[in-house]
């Protein structure tokens, strides 16, 4: 089944080229490709339980000399997340950009971004990962400018690009150190090689800080709100749902699989602390935001914080069921946030198209005019806050429970406060939307309203789908827990 890996890794590239060569067919090509990709990812995930990891040696060369594509359950679930979000946002983007010229410009970049995401998730080589990070950063920044006329959008995109480059460079420096000390870039070989040494520590710090810029962990978060809130809605959805997520995925690999001898509990606690600050600060900023997209961007900041708070907890748990439970919950939260955040951004995009703005105080009457979108936003909000029956609720239950079991109850307090703050900013939006129509009628929409269903689909999935059918996440993970792979 390793041909699945090849398909998933190369289909986006082929689609990008096809959309570049034949722009007028871009809409159909993109839809078909995103559907194929979705089916392939589902197959990949269903295939994984039988073999805990798949791999494909590129060029027929053994890893070390060559590069191997590979997938384990962790990668598999994230591939599925990407395919799912990509499918819904592709469908949405097709209608969001009503100017066909903008779509011609969009699709090649859109699929190059997808190539970067999948190549990153499937890559088993530290330097190859650097290349995928470069592609990711560049395509993300380039996508921010599609259809954007405002100078702030360009400025935010430029800042995004530069910070992404700094992050990549730090990562590259870390890779160089690893190569200098251990003489290989192959991740599976490094698992057994890496030991505690000054160079290992330095490379861990360099790699981590490079990636932490990319997933916007406080205090390296300052670029995110502007970039994510000024991009077009479908792009924001992908940026917030996927791009930060895959950088976090790499961090997970580094911390839990590669650098385990180097990652001390003090280091993990520091990471958790930064995550906790992100949770509180992000939620608070989201609560104070005046624009919907800014709110959503800050919410991403805080949601990423939860993921980081899992790190010291999982580290502290003894290997076995309890650790597995927490690790699975961490993955579930990442997936759940990805889906819900994409739904939220798409919903906001529809509101913005309809009203001509996204200011929270002027949302009055939108609940009546766009009930489907409002429903999607509310459901996505439920999943973001972590209320039942969403997948995020299960994850937060696990977070609280694991923090109690590991004796680190303070993370529980942060979770609870963060949850209440998140609920507060959600209620602010809903309250504004339920209010009667504002005095000024909305501006005439410049184009037909984008599809509202993709957002609803994802929101329902995050709230009910992941809430009631998430146990496979744990089932597959338990077959190849990170500690077994070592």
């Amino acid at each position: 089944m390793s041909s699945l890996l090849v398909l998933i890794a190369t289909l986006p590239l082929m689609t990008a080229l096809a959309c570049l060569l034949h722009p007028r067919g871009g809409d159909q090509l993109s839809l078909v490709a995103s559907m194929i990709q979705l089916v392939a990812s589902v197959l990949l995930v269903t295939e994984l339980p039988s073999r805990s990891s798949l791999s494909h040696a590129l060029g027929g060369w053994a890893p070390g000399l060559g590069i191997a594509l590979g997938a384990d359950p962790l990668a598999g679930w994230l591939v599925l997340l990407c395919a799912l979000v990509q499918f819904a946002t592709t469908l949405y983007a097709r209608f969001y950009f009503c100017d066909s010229q903008a779509r011609y410009r969009l699709w090649p970049l859109w699929w190059l971004l997808a190539s970067a995401l999948y190549a990153l998730l499937l890559s088993g080589d530290l330097f190859n990962l650097y290349v995928t990070l470069e592609l990711l950063g560049l395509s993300a920044a380039a996508l921010c400018t599609v259809g954007a006329a405002k100078a702030e959008a360009l400025e935010a995109a430029l800042r995004y690009l530069l910070l992404g480059l700094i992050g990549s460079l730090l990562y590259l420096a870390g890779v160089a150190l690893v190569y200098a000390e251990y003489g290989t870039l192959d991740v599976s070989a490094l698992r057994t090689l890496i030991s505690s040494s000054p160079a290992s520590l330095a490379s861990l710090v360099l790699l981590s800080s490079g990636l932490m810029i990319k997933c916007a962990l406080v205090p390296l978060h300052f670029w995110l709100p502007a970039a994510h809130s000024s991009a077009p809605a479908p792009v924001s959805a992908v940026l917030s749902a996927l791009v930060v997520k895959v950088a976090f995925y790499l961090l997970l690999r580094l911390w839990f699989e590669l650098f385990t001898p180097v990652v001390t509990s003090a280091f993990a606690t520091l990471i958790g602390l930064l995550g906790a600050i992100a949770v509180i600060w992000g939620s608070w900023q989201a609560f104070r935001a005046t624009r919907l997209k800014l709110l959503a961007a800050y919410s991403t900041l805080s949601q990423m914080g939860y993921l980081f708070m899992f790190v010291p907890i999982v580290m502290a748990l003894p290997e076995g069921d309890t650790r597995q439970f927490a690790y699975g919950a961490l993955l579930l939260l990442a997936v759940s946030h990805g889906i819900a955040k994409a739904a939220l951004f798409m919903g906001i995009g529809s509101l913005q198209q309809h009203l001509g703005h996204d200011e929270i105080d002027r949302l009055g009457g939108s609940a009546r005019k766009l009930p489907v979108t409002l429903f999607a936003i509310s459901l996505a909000g439920v999943a973001l806050v972590g209320l039942p029956p969403s997948g995020a609720f299960l994850a937060k239950w696990a977070l609280i429970s694991s923090s109690l079991v590991s004796g680190q109850w303070w993370w529980m307090l942060v979770t609870l406060v963060g949850t209440l703050l998140a609920a507060a900013y959600l209620v602010r939006v809903l309250g504004a939307a339920f209010a009667p129509t504002a005095a000024a009628e909305p501006a005439l929409p410049t184009c037909r309203l984008a599809l509202q269903q993709p957002a609803l689909l994802l929101a329902v999935l995050a709230t009910f789908g992941l809430g009631f059918a998430a146990s496979p996440v744990w089932d597959t993970l338990s077959l190849s827990p990170p500690e077994v792979q070592r």
Binding site: L20, I67, T145
Partner: protein
């Protein structure tokens, strides 16, 4: 021996001085010139470190094209800089962090000395006979780690499309005169010849698609600067085709192998040399197109990426 020490130390000192110059020189133009000098010096350092491939690439891209790009991007009027206290603070903090990083890196690197030439280089030499090319760098780039190079091409493509999406190309400068035209007429064939030589050379000596593509792109830059000689007209479809060509060839060659039950990008031994040359040729053309377009700062035709029926040219 002693002499080399002196040379090396001078190079290091010069690099730091040039780096400082490109950060702190009085005007933007001077900083750019310092930066170009820095790039050339880096090429020399690579040569000194016995990495001629990198030296070539650095000279062509790092100093040459990037320099041209930066010079072209310079604003016509010197912008007045208002440095706030916060900016100064950020500058100082960044400097401090950079210095700290340097110290830590030096300290860490000393723990790694002496670096032995480890397994990977041995592995490369051992399998070089199966790679289809005799130059180890090309073998790594186009065969052992071809996936990296393929994605690097995608990175370049992505950057180019990003630039093209933003704005139309800069107008060509005024016609530089008959003398320049004559010069260009001599220079152009030479540049193309050099590019072809570098491309062919890549199989067994330093060279290859990136260097060749950069030299070809330099030809475009020269043409553009001269302002007199023009390329034959081409269409948007041809332009898009040129952009996609390298990646498309690379990917197709890689995928075709799957049909024969091989791995992705696994070349049959007998064909490896020719296939690599084919891929490199496509890549050279694409890279040249991309670098030229990035230098021009946008799309050279009236519309991008699809036009109604306009078939005009600007270069």
């Amino acid at each position: 021996m002693m002499l080399w020490w002196v040379v090396d130390l001078t190079l290091c000192a010069l690099m730091i001085a040039l780096a400082a110059g490109s950060l702190f020189a009085a005007t933007l133009r001077r900083r750019v010139i310092f930066f170009i000098a820095f790039g050339l010096l880096t090429a020399i350092v690579w040569a000194r470190l016995q990495a001629p491939d990198l030296a070539l690439a650095e000279a062509a891209i790092g100093a040459g094209l990037t320099g041209a790009l930066l010079l072209a991007a310079l604003p016509t009027a010197q912008p007045t800089e208002h440095k706030r206290d916060a900016d100064r603070l950020i500058e100082w903090v960044s400097l401090l962090l950079a210095a700290l990083l340097a110290v830590v890196l030096i300290a860490v690197l000393t723990t790694l000395l002496p670096v032995v030439d480890g397994d990977p280089s041995l592995a490369v030499t051992a399998r070089l006979s199966d790679a289809g090319v005799s130059h180890p760098v090309t073998a790594v780039l186009l065969n052992f780690r071809a996936w990296d190079t393929l994605l690097e091409l995608a990175v370049l493509l992505c950057a180019t499309i990003g630039v093209l999406n933003l704005a139309p190309a800069r107008k060509a400068p005024r016609h530089a005169g008959a003398l320049a035209d004559t010069l260009i007429r001599i220079l152009l064939p030479l540049l193309i010849l050099t590019a072809g030589y570098l491309l062919w050379n890549g199989a067994f000596a330093p060279g290859g698609a990136f260097q060749a593509g950069a030299v070809l792109a330099a030809a475009t830059v020269v043409l553009h600067l001269g302002g007199g000689v023009r390329l034959p007209p081409f269409s948007l479809a041809q332009l898009r085709g040129l952009l996609a060509l390298g990646l498309l060839l690379f990917l197709s060659v890689g995928l075709v192998q799957l049909a024969f039950g091989q791995a992705l990008l696994q070349y049959p031994l007998a064909w490896a040399g020719s296939l690599i040359l084919l891929i490199e040729t496509g890549a050279t053309l694409s890279i040249a197109t991309m670098l030229s377009l990035v230098y021009l700062g946008g799309h050279p035709l009236r519309d991008w990426p699809v036009a109604g029926d306009s078939r005009d040219r600007e270069i």
